[in-house]
């Protein structure tokens, strides 16, 4: 792949092949979702903590509304 192609991610392979050999995919799959679980989990946890903080410390102190 030329330097440019690597920058765009283009390749001359047909649509149903992407040049990833099954062996390395196999070894990668042994630990894959741990990193994603950690990243997504922290992000969602932060969001929830942020929501609760805004609810309790910004919204409720401004007075009951109904």
């Amino acid at each position: 792949m030329t330097h440019l192609e690597s920058q765009i991610g283009r390749s001359s392979l047909p649509q149903d092949k992407d040049g990833i050999d099954e062996g390395s995919l196999e070894s990668v799959m042994r630990e894959v979702p741990r990193g994603a679980m950690a990243l997504a989990g922290t992000a969602v946890a932060l969001l929830t903590v942020g929501w609760v903080a805004i609810y309790l410390f910004v919204f409720v102190p401004r007075g009951v509304v109904g």
């Binding site: 997504a40 969602v44 609810y55 007075g63 009951v64 509304v65 109904g66």
Partner: protein
């Protein structure tokens, strides 16, 4: 020994299900906080399906000009009535106590308006055809800004009122139960 493809696929679905369960717990947690405050202190979005004809609003008693502003009923209930019309709130200033439950009632004779009081949770749309009603307890005092926050025509940017929130003990309605802003 490489897992068989099916076992790996099941593992992926199991991970996704575990993540979905975590997400469901978070959603339930957020909902439970909302339900708890709704049940314990009565926090709702302001709703009041009370119909009134905008075309003859100025012919009614409650929203007649001299009845607008803050009034304290015999049983001590504090209600502020205002009309949101193109391009002013009537009256332009209302006085209310902090720390006590108050009710604000709005109506529009012409188009859709809306309002918020800066720094408080008072917020509502004023839709012609309905009386908008907000129950609250002010937790801060001072001259707060109450702008019209819904586009209502070319004068929308100039449509704002002032809410003078005074400490409870300084809130002294006149003999007829009416209270109005002091000129500052």
């Amino acid at each position: 020994m490489a897992e068989s493809a099916d076992a790996q696929e099941r593992h992926i679905l199991a991970t996704e299900l575990r993540w979905s369960a975590m997400v469901a717990v978070l959603v339930a947690a957020i909902l439970s906080v909302v339900v708890y405050t709704a049940i314990s202190v009565g926090i709702n979005p302001p709703s009041n399906v009370e119909r009134i004809d905008p075309k003859s609003l100025h012919l009614t008693g409650e929203f007649a000009e001299h009845n607008l502003g803050t009034s304290v009923a015999a049983d001590g209930a504090i209600t502020a009535r205002m009309v949101a019309t193109q391009f002013a709130f009537v009256p332009r200033c209302i006085a209310l106590p902090s720390g006590k439950p108050v009710t604000l009632r709005f109506a529009s004779p012409d188009v859709v308006h809306g309002l918020l009081i800066t720094g408080t949770n008072v917020n509502t749309m004023v839709v012609p055809g309905y009386i908008a009603q907000v129950h609250t307890v002010f937790t801060q005092t001072g001259d707060l800004l109450m702008p019209c926050h819904e586009y209502c025509g070319l004068g929308h940017s100039e449509m704002w009122a002032v809410v003078q929130v005074v400490p409870e003990k300084e809130f002294k309605p006149a003999s007829d139960g009416r209270a109005s802003c002091e000129k500052r």
